[in-house]
Symmetry: D2
Subunit: 311 residues, 4 copies
């Protein structure tokens, strides 16, 4: 992996222009406040990285600052499980937008314990449960993968964040027990929750995550040249990101940004330009739908300035 920061290269001027515009924009939303570690971040923080297919990374702002990945990791867990069990996964989780706030139990009940998609909490619990059954340690599997793809062996769980999530974990416990009542959870709920919260707690930087996402721009090929997903599966994961990756704002994100993307309440968003590059942007201030305000704005500017939308 070659980290390049020379400003003469392709994406660097675009990133700097975006950072400059974002820096002059007041109003950044509010950091998630349900756990102390997230609430403590400065909403004015901003970093952005672009990774080309060959591992070249461009960055601006706090692009090497580690932050809490949270739901961004749901993409990688999905890919890891899909690589193992293939289409059988889709009998346990759907791939339709939720049309409701991200914690909603309504549709889960209406659809008999099958979550709408892998990126709402209920769906991510199912995917983690299945990867746990297949590996014995879903969180460990995820961490190993992220370290390998990012080339950063220091990535790790944040024990304090994981403990905080557990302390406020009644909603996810309810989701897991609810799906278990429909027979759609295999492992004991406390074990599953431990695995789930540890995944959410992983800390990584924009550079790390842009690189870790590259396999989706390379149609399934990992950093070491081996194949994780078939070309068709990589396309499918991108499609699910586009239609379901930003909570209840997927339509708006597609409309403004026009790229497959996945956000987390830590303020990070990853995005994919298939066949071309990947992006990760981070800024802790969230809008009312849980997406980074400056993050979405930066990606919007990126696709407008470069024309690199999928549409």
């Amino acid at each position: 992996m070659a980290i390049m920061t020379t400003s003469s290269l392709t994406f660097q001027p675009v990133l700097e222009r975006i950072a400059d515009e974002i820096g002059r924009t007041p109003g950044r939303g509010r950091p998630a406040d349900y756990i102390p570690a997230l609430a403590a971040r400065d909403p004015r923080s901003f970093g952005m990285a672009v990774a080309e297919l060959d591992g070249t990374v461009y960055g601006v702002g706090e692009w090497r600052e580690p932050f809490s990945t949270q739901s961004v990791t749901k993409v990688f867990t999905l890919a890891l499980d899909l690589a193992r069990e293939g289409d059988a996964l889709w009998e346990h989780v759907g791939r339709e937008p939720s049309g409701n706030p991200f914690n909603s139990l309504v549709q889960l009940e209406y659809e008999h314990g099958i979550p709408r998609n892998p990126f709402i909490n209920a769906g991510a619990l199912v995917v983690t449960d299945r990867l746990l059954t297949r590996t014995g340690d879903a969180a460990g599997e995820l961490l190993t993968f992220l370290r390998a793809e990012s080339g950063n062996p220091e990535l790790s769980f944040d024990q304090e964040v994981a403990a905080s999530e557990t302390a406020y974990g009644d909603r996810n416990a309810a989701l897991a027990h609810f799906m278990a009542s429909y027979g759609n959870i295999d492992n004991p709920v406390p074990l599953l929750l431990d695995q789930y919260f540890r995944q959410c707690s992983i800390t990584a930087s924009c550079a790390d995550l842009a690189l870790a996402t590259s396999f989706l721009a390379r149609h399934g090929i990992r950093a070491d040249g081996t194949r994780l997903l078939t070309r068709s599966q990589a396309k499918q994961v991108n499609a699910v990101m586009l239609t379901c990756g930003t909570y209840d704002a997927a339509g708006d994100f597609a409309y403004r940004v026009g790229l497959p993307g996945k956000s987390g309440v830590g303020g990070g968003i990853i995005a994919v330009v298939p066949g071309r590059c990947t992006l990760c942007v981070w800024s802790p201030g969230l809008d009312e739908r849980g997406n980074s305000v400056a993050g979405v704005a930066a990606l919007d500017r990126f696709t407008t300035l470069t024309g690199l939308s999928v549409f």
Copy 2:
């Protein structure tokens, strides 16, 4: 307590006529099958008892046969907690009909963790949680009360039923965690569930339950002459039974029977004629809404034959 079975007394001929009619009616619904102890009961079983205010009891069929009380006990837990904390209870649980199947999470989410009424599972969990906080042993408190009112010291928990409920308890665990996420549960969820399932497991006969319900026909006065509820509170419990006591069929039950009543999936139903008498009927076959088929039919006949509806 004087148990009277001489057929010359008031209610005996009515009960015998009803039993005769029910006995000639084919089609009795199906016993609840989610736990073995309920599934094993014969759907053709039938018993019915009427208790007058002075403790005189009339009965027919298997009126002295113990059965699993299940949700019927929710009435007594409500009364015991209401006696202790009064109107403050209503800040934690509503008193409106649910308008949805009895396990629904939809309204619970919509109403921010405050269950619609004390007789849906979520509401009963809240009431148990509050009585547990106030007594240290809600299930024990309930059993003591039922023994005293029925005059039957042999009433007890059915450990096998309680264990079965726990084994299939994911739905109730989901409800409890969900309400805990809104701050509406005080005790640890596993402890609460243990108390809740033990209450549901109590075994009693029609005679026992008709007597135990009498305080609601006596406007709040217990068997020993002491007052459990104020006259106004007794009226309120009766009102909640009428509007919410039979799952999603409260309107239909009021229409057909016209009495405050509470059913359980064990096939029992208690009913109150305020100022006059109480009834308990039992037959394990349920309709699709969870109420005893023969039980509702028998109460329908009783109010038609005697004119003892509240309307």
Copy 3:
């Protein structure tokens, strides 16, 4: 019919005490404001009447002042149709509480065009549609009935109110077309709406309505001694009033008042003490669920002071 106001009779002192208490209570809610005729009423107006089975009427305050009956008339339309078609009506409208705000379309869609009960707008449209098919003039039939029972030949439609309702009638037009799409409306929607809005527009006083409701306390017998409903049907209408008569507050009304009752957004509420008497109270200020604030409070006091609850 003998109108009695001598204060020595039974109910007069109770009514005067209630009026006195209500008069000293600040905060009366707000009149309905969606049409001018309702918005113009003084929220401090208050009247209350009690009619005994023999037609004796007691009253206090503005008990002879005509007001807009609105949804109160749904009870009479139901009775008139039920008298004609009997139980077949219940294939087209349910009798369960709605569990949702009174204009909700959600359950109507979920339940395939069969409204939950005859007192939500959708259900009342169905009942009017059926009475219209059977009589050719549902509104005229209703007016004739109300004049006969109240003994007041001057009762009439308020053309201005009917015209206002039509002007703001999009919501009811939506309901009617929606049910028509399920085949549950027989007549052309504009004709049905005209009939429906005319019924709502009838103006009557507390004295008129208490008398007109008496057939429900007399178990189905009209003022002239003829039978409108069977004893069983009268009981059924009372049961539907108790479980569904006050919009989304039926449980609370049963809990506080403990009588079958039906409210309207004009501020009127009728109530029935089966076998004993009927009541009508009027005060235009509404709570957020559409029921008269002073009206509910007055009925609450009445049942507390007299002990005349059904529970």
Copy 4:
């Protein structure tokens, strides 16, 4: 416009292979049966066309057979209104997937009369209403546009289809009145419905519609070289098609096909490969979500065989 069918050209062999595969596949779903003109079509019919940016069209099967366009026209009405009023449109209709069946009123009520997106019926009614206000004849404007872009002056309304839609139009009348009750419809409902049903009734072939859609692959440029939409607006319409274009199956369509697309109950589907080409496929047999079974399968094969997905 040059219609080319020489099999040596790029897309022709792919289309023929697809047609061959589809022809050997049993099970084609069922035509829409709510109006006679749709029910009468043979579910085994199949046609497919690809239009390159320069107007070259390739086709296979019944690609020149006219069929009922139905909801496919919603894309063009959206573009025509967006061209006129710009972003102000989005105050009256959202751009999020519906997450519910295509006629659902639930979310419409929850979101106060603002439909989720322009492609559910409620949203299309709003867009037609707005274009009607701006042009005086939305249906005529649409027909003129389709004739110009397809180069086919014979495109026209099917009066029989429009009359049938009107006869079964209660659901759409309900939607329109419901939104009018929130102030989100400007024109009289009967006039709006007439315009709406005429748009749905337009008959066109795969060749016509592939050509008419080309402006979305040309980033907003019409067949005559003039600009209808800005580049950004064209991207936005494509994004809305991808997330909302196939009723409740948008996630699945994105997953399988990976292209912006819009289906109609006449069995047609249009799709866009931005910057490259457009497609239209037609086969009347529908799946349970209202999309052409053979149509989705053919597009799935097309993107798999050519690699022309946006992901």
